[in-house]
């Protein structure tokens, strides 16, 4: 049995020893280096562009200006162009680009480009941008409000009437960067037919073909995308961004391949960010501990051009409406243009934001009811086999088990008598004033709901796969899905190995070339194990059927009596067997021979949400998780140390427990950063901390002990019972920590990250 084994990632040794080829390593013959010039203003008219001095610099091969733009606009909002022409709308706006023989020459050329601006009044505040009197970021749109979302079920007025307690708060959430180890990189190359090959770290190779075709004014059929090894993505590669068509346009103009690789500074400026959010949210509950209603409004900054920051409300509303069983829910969101940076999605796609307000309000309700927070959550937990008012069909569901597993490790429940009250919690009573410093300890809980069986945000949520068995028993899985460090190559290889009865290391996974691999939507929504896993399973079963067809002739046995094991095909309950290699050869070396090529396509039985009500079963199954944070707060400096983070996740079935733990721990690392240290400080449209000195990730030395608990619920539709886990590791962490800080100090934090200064301010406010 390969399923359920702790198998180290197959691609890890090459990565750890520097053998892996990343986009930054790719060198094509004659390749030039591209650099982009960004705007000096957040909002301005461009009066004049003069590239004549830059063109004279030896080594400069091509300069791109807005005059080189194809006529069509691109992007989800159809509001973007590769180079900006008449107007710039943010500091990340591309105003020119250079291709030169080396990167330093290209950088020098940028300094020689003269651009004359006429500054306009910029809009940085979403509330200002919403006003009728606000200047329009895109005048052709008539409003800065790009999209409004309105969701409801039940009757919020009725919900409030039934409530014995009501809590509410305002929340302020920051920009967060993906901070992938590898910065954005792209190489564009045209062949003699004028067909484009793009070496890219995209997460959506097939959709990017379409988007790029539109941006470049060529046919999608003329574009091949080769994904180099991806050094972290986390949602960065879910959309087209201007540097991609810019690389292609430079390559065409120079007649040479062009690589654009971002500096870290550039990455912090021009890559999409996790969306900042201003949220007002309320919730109510009855004395018996049943939630009555939830009501939230989110004001969201999409930046100057539309990317996935405009779609995050779909996920926010799912948490608001369906995490726990809530009879009455209202959720509204406004997605607004400003002169700020483009916002997108970072691991969780709106869920880290919504889980923060949802789960801190849960804690407030428990406190208001004077009820144990674990008990309160259990009373409202989602249950298996229930259709939610939002239309989500919950099948397997281990939320109750997650809460209980975490609570058991926290050694709480009946012992925590004065949870969250203004008095110290039981833990902090024992340990306050440690080492003569004013340290207080507390614990907090938070849960999460996340799609675990794909997410139908496009008409198809499908993925294709083929499994090929050749001479020597060589097995290749060619999958539409993409490895972005999450471990999909290993998981998918395990699924195929299980079906074909071969060793996992004997499977080669090919997943990087649109000319080779079958179609797929992309790597997002924690969908790969479930969707690509099911597709790989179907393809492997098909290949096995073909193997059995030939083996039954060789072994003179019915195909139904055959099994795979140890690289061989056995007649059941006997030692009669044939090697996979022999079966493959026999199929090849004969008159009327055939290849062994299993084919799989999986598109889950789900629906897109209704465009007016936003209701519908978007995913084939849902993942759940709960975290418990134990913190120590230095009440004199405001510094919060997380001592323990206990994470339980319902993953259906762990195909590879080691990989699941990796996802939980990696998610926790990002969740801890979101909670305590990570914030891209944007003042008047400008990034104030575009480096790792002042953009603080949790380093390995900072990580607390992470205790992973895997809950298995055997999902009826998942491959071998598995469902997705990729994003939920980080979504509840900030709320668990905020709740723990409250437990320790009696203070509620509503702004992330909870920096020492913010915590100290909150403590001082509370003293007044």
């Amino acid at each position: 049995m390969v399923i359920g084994q702790r198998i180290p990632k197959l691609d890890a040794p090459d990565k750890a020893t520097g053998r892996t080829v990343y986009g930054h390593d790719v060198k094509l013959p004659g390749m030039l280096h591209g650099r982009i010039l960004y705007s000096q203003y957040a909002s301005a008219k461009i009066k004049r562009v003069d590239v004549s001095r830059a063109l004279k610099l030896p080594g400069v091969k091509a300069i791109l200006t807005a005059a080189d733009n194809p006529p069509t606009k691109f992007g989800y909002g159809k509001d973007n162009t590769p180079i900006k022409g008449d107007v710039v709308r943010s500091f990340r706006d591309e105003v020119a680009a250079v291709a030169a023989v080396d990167a330093d020459t290209a950088a020098e050329a940028l300094d020689l480009i003269e651009i004359e601006y006429e500054p306009l009044t910029p809009l940085f505040d979403v509330r200002q941008a919403m006003k009728d009197s606000a200047p329009l970021i895109h005048p052709e749109r008539k409003s800065n409000l790009f999209q409004k979302y309105k969701y409801s079920h039940g009757d919020i007025v009725e919900g409030e009437r039934e409530s014995d307690v009501v809590v509410e708060a305002d929340f302020e959430l920051p920009y967060v960067a993906h901070a992938a180890m590898e910065t954005s990189v792209v190489i564009a190359s045209f062949d003699h037919r004028d067909h484009l090959t793009l070496y890219s770290t995209t997460q959506i190779p097939f959709l990017l073909q379409r988007d790029l075709a539109e941006a470049l004014g060529i046919e999608g059929n003329d574009i091949r995308i080769i994904q180099t090894a991806i050094g972290g993505a986390f949602g960065r590669g879910l959309d087209i961004y201007p540097y991609e068509p810019i690389a292609a346009l430079l390559a065409r103009k120079a007649g040479k391949p062009v690589r654009i690789s971002f500096s870290r500074h550039e990455e912090f400026l021009a890559a999409p960010m996790r969306q900042p959010a201003l949220i007002h949210a309320r919730a109510g509950a009855k004395r018996d501990g049943k939630i009555t209603f939830r009501d939230a409004y989110a004001l969201l900054d999409v930046g100057a051009y539309i990317s996935w920051g405009s779609v995050t409300p779909l996920v926010m509303m799912e948490t608001t409406a369906s995490l726990y069983r809530v009879p009455h829910v209202k959720f509204e969101a406004d997605c607004v243009y400003t002169n700020n940076l483009i916002t997108g999605a970072v691991r969780g796609y709106g869920n880290p934001q919504s889980t923060f307000y949802t789960e801190t309000l849960m804690e407030r309700l428990a406190v208001a009811l004077n009820m144990d927070p674990v008990d309160f959550r259990l009373r409202n937990a989602n249950i298996p086999n229930e259709e939610m008012p939002q239309g989500l069909i919950i099948t397997s569901c281990g939320l109750k088990e997650c809460i209980e597993a975490v609570a058991a490790r926290a050694d709480v429940g009946s012992q925590r008598s004065e949870v969250g009250s203004q008095k110290d919690s039981r833990i902090s009573n024992q340990k306050s004033e440690i080492n003569n410093q004013k340290l207080k300890r507390g614990i907090g809980f938070a849960s999460t709901l996340n799609v675990g069986g794909g997410a139908r945000i496009y008409k198809s949520d499908g993925c294709g796969a083929t499994v090929k068995v050749d001479d020597f028993g060589h097995v290749s899985l060619i999958t539409g899905s993409t490895e972005i460090g999450q471990g999909s190559e290993t998981i998918l290889a395990q699924i195929v190995a299980e079906v074909l009865g071969v060793k996992v290391e004997d499977i080669n996974v090919l997943n990087s070339d649109t000319d080779v691999k079958p179609w797929d939507v992309g790597v997002h929504a924690s969908r790969t194990t479930f969707i690509a896993g099911n597709a790989a399973h179907i393809a492997a079963m098909d290949a096995r059927k073909q193997l059995f067809e030939t083996a039954s002739e060789l072994l003179k046995a019915e195909p139904e009596s055959l099994v795979t094991r140890d690289g061989k095909i056995f007649v059941n309950d006997s030692d009669r067997s044939a090697d996979l290699a022999k079966v493959a050869r026999s199929r090849h070396y004969r008159e009327g021979g055939k290849v062994i090529l299993g084919e799989g396509w999986y598109d889950p039985p789900t629906k897109m949400v209704d465009k007016d009500t936003y209701k519908g079963n978007i995913s084939a199954t849902y993942g759940f998780g709960t975290q418990m944070a134990e913190v120590e707060v230095d009440t004199e400096t405001g510094k919060v140390r997380v001592l323990r983070l206990v994470c339980a996740n319902d993953v259906g079935r762990a195909i590879n427990p080691m990989a699941v733990e990796g996802q939980i721990e990696g998610g926790a690392q990002m969740g801890l950063g979101y909670a305590l240290t990570e914030e891209l400080i944007v003042k008047e449209g400008r990034v104030m901390n575009p480096d790792f000195l002042d953009y603080r990730l949790f380093t390995s030395a900072d990580m607390p002990q992470i205790e992973s608990i895997i809950i298995e619920t055997d999902d009826p539709q998942g491959p071998f019972g598995a469902k997705g886990v990729g994003e939920m590791g980080g979504t509840p962490t900030a709320a668990a920590i905020a709740n723990a800080i409250h437990d320790a100090t009696g203070v509620w934090l509503t702004q992330l990250p909870m920096t020492p200064e913010r915590v100290l301010r909150a403590l001082e406010e509370a003293k007044k």
Partner: protein, 281 residues
Amino acid sequence: MKPFDYFSPKTLSEASEVLSKYNDDARMIAGGTDLLLKMKAGRLAPKAIINIKRIPDLRGLTFNSHLTLGALTTLEEIKQSPIIRQYYPALSSAAATMASVQIRNLATVGGNMCNAAPSADLAPILIALNATAVINGAKGERRVLLEEFFTAPGKSVLGVGELLISLEVPKQEGKSIYLKHSPREHMDIAVVGVGIACRGFNPLTQVRIILGAVAPIPLRAKKAEEEVMGGSLTKERIERAAKIAAEEARPIDDVRGSVWYRRKIVEVMVKRGLTGLVNGN
């Protein structure tokens, strides 16, 4: 990065000569952990880079009547040195708070001083320990108290053609401590750093309290020192001194912390530092 001339002198005089020739347009490189970042970011484009790692006079960590730290002594050497751990434990622990093992193996004490960042961790503790900077130039050697070495962010008393040779730290007869506050536990720079060295106990006969990252240069909190000198050192006096130090600080608002917060932290760190020295931990 812009092109530059590169020199690798083997003697002090050769180095001085190149430095003088390029006037202000040459930069010395040892670990390069500050310099290269600035160059890569385009904030600095020197015409010449002078590798000083081959100059023997800049090496060495010796201890006899005092401690001599050659300018090339790495932060990791300071952290690990048994001599420093025994006789100047606060200096070792200050180095331990800095960067990562990889960076500490490259970065040097000379670089940390000459880069003259207001947040440099070794500055407050070395000034508290009353270190002297030994400087070499065309006119020979001169000595400057480290307390008087820094003049502005990124600036020191080093003139054209001069380089820092070593730091001399007197033998300590009392106790010392370095406390650092940063939002993240590891690999972070100080929002506030406090170095304190004292002699005597109840009464304190000598005390030096140096604040880092809360003024353009490391700041000596002289009024706070006066508050705790002589007489019986009570909790109340320590708290008063801490408040005074917070008032003496001249911090700015930036992305790392507000004026309000930095003063708060100065107060807490000075209080904890003095309390720690008194309590012997």
